[in-house]
């Protein structure tokens, strides 16, 4: 269990300020580089598209519906509507 010992010295002993400053700087650098890359990407793509044009390939078949019975429900609804129209005399 933790022994409570509030002290400014704990921060110095654990190199808290250096750790926080370094960590924050690295996070900023990483995201700044990501941000810079995103900003440059459209310009890079203008160049890339000139030599490697975008292709529209066929996507893999989508995963089947979890229920898998969408069509049956639609057919059943259509039959029910037709029967209802017939019994109520509508065309």
């Amino acid at each position: 269990m933790l022994e409570l010992s509030f002290s400014y010295q704990n921060i110095l002993d654990g190199q808290g300020f250096a750790l926080a400053l370094t960590g924050m700087t690295i996070v900023f650098i990483a995201l700044l580089m990501v941000s810079a890359f995103i900003a440059l990407l459209p310009r890079i793509l203008v160049f890339v598209n000139r030599y490697i044009p975008e292709v529209h390939h066929h996507a893999a078949p989508k995963a089947r519906s979890r229920h898998g019975d969408d069509d049956e429900e639609a057919i059943a609804a259509a039959i029910a509507y037709a029967l209802h129209s017939r019994t109520t005399g509508r065309t």
């Binding site: 921060i11 654990g14 750790l19 400053l21 900023f28 700044l32 793509l45 989508k62």
Partner: protein, 375 residues
């Protein structure tokens, strides 16, 4: 008769402590918050029920709890204690996430970095209170408002605090709509909250495909400790955006993430046995976690105001609060607060940019802390 008496001694009622009752009550509160208030129900409900299960007093000699070697729960908890579940959750998050708004407005990525200040300022606070550097790093990550990252890092740096850190992280994520609005309102003027931002540009499919690969390389080369989390996040996103692995992306964002969320939430809840959880450490962790979350929100908002000093197209500073990576809750809060001032102002799509940048930022921060503080 003696057999009956012997059996009665082994029942939960006979061995129940006041601490167990408190934790069972906390578990019920979590379930109540999930059902009645809709606060992060997918997590609070499994955690809440796990709290109840984990606080039924065990029978000596019967391995049933998460800390008992060979018990079923210990095998499930293995995914938490070894940091296996969080990267799998990141895979699902990646397969769900649309980075379009971030790609259309790269300036907003910096807000995701600013909000990570909460992590490092809390680290200093935890050191001051007497926690070791490794424990302080694990506690600080609560400010990232990212449950899987908090679990991953505490499993690596301070496994003995994992239960308290996980519960604190998920509790504060659930309380985003309660914690953030007062801070956002306090730090912004009415005029600032009414700022309308330019509509994002259309993003090509090729940009969306290149981004996860390039962003992974940038982040992983700078902070290799983040490879597991960042790698799975961007891998999941590539599955989604490539257009040729829709079945895999579908499994990652539905079946896989659901299964892992159930196992993670339930086993984290089970780990909160009163004997290990109800300690002064846990109370301090909860206090530090709340501070961390508030500081992260404030840093995001203040950094947006700072950026506005240099920008022609102003950013609504509320968007900075979404830099904490509670996706998509903090973005929703930004939208809600913005619309209170101007019902025609739609900030949600803008807020999603720092929100997803925050996920990357907190994973990078975790990677840095892990590589510096381990051992």
């Amino acid at each position: 008769m003696s057999i009956l008496l012997e059996f009665l001694k082994t029942t939960g009622v006979a061995n129940m402590s006041a601490g167990n009752l408190v934790m069972i009550a906390i578990g019920m509160i979590f379930i109540g918050l999930a059902i009645r208030k809709d606060y992060e129900p997918l997590l609070l409900l499994p955690i809440g029920f796990g709290c109840i299960v984990g606080n039924i007093p065990p029978v000596a000699g019967m391995p049933v709890g998460v800390y008992d070697e060979g018990s079923v729960l210990s095998y499930i908890y293995y995914g938490v204690s070894q940091g296996i579940f969080p990267p799998l959750i990141f895979l699902g998050i990646g397969a769900m996430t649309d980075f379009s708004t971030m790609l259309s407005n790269p300036r907003l990525v910096l807000l995701g970095a600013a909000a990570q200040m909460g992590i490092f300022l809390t680290l200093i606070g935890a050191l001051y209170l007497g926690f070791t550097p490794a424990e302080s790093g694990a506690i600080g990550i609560i400010g990232g408002a990212d449950g899987p990252t908090a679990i991953f890092l505490s499993a690596k740096l301070a496994p003995h605090l994992l239960g308290a850190i996980a519960i604190a992280a998920y509790s504060y994520m659930a309380l985003v709509p309660v914690i953030q609005p007062p801070i956002m309102k306090l730090l912004t003027t009415r005029q600032e909250r009414r700022i309308r931002m330019k509509a994002p540009r259309a993003v090509s499919q090729r940009e969306k495909i290149i981004f996860p690969i390039a962003a992974f390389l940038i982040c992983a080369l700078i902070a290799p400790g983040a490879i597991v989390l960042i790698g799975m996040l961007f891998f999941g996103n590539l599955l989604k955006e490539s257009g040729v692995t829709e079945r895999l992306a579908d499994t990652a964002r539905h079946a896989l993430i659901d299964i892992v969320t159930i196992l993670l939430g339930f086993s984290v809840g089970c780990s909160t046995q009163a004997q290990t959880f109800l300690t002064p450490d846990s109370l301090l962790i909860f206090a530090l976690g709340a501070t961390s979350f508030a500081v992260a929100t404030a840093c995001g908002v203040l950094f947006a105001k700072f950026m506005n000093l240099f920008l022609k197209d102003k950013i609504n500073p509320l968007v900075g609060a979404a830099g904490v990576s509670a996706v998509p809750d903090s973005a929703r809060v930004v939208q809600m607060i913005g619309q209170q001032e101007d019902p025609q102002n739609f900030l949600l799509m803008h807020a999603m940019a720092p929100n997803v940048a925050g996920v990357i930022g907190s994973a990078v921060a975790a990677g840095i802390l892990w590589s510096v503080l381990v051992g």
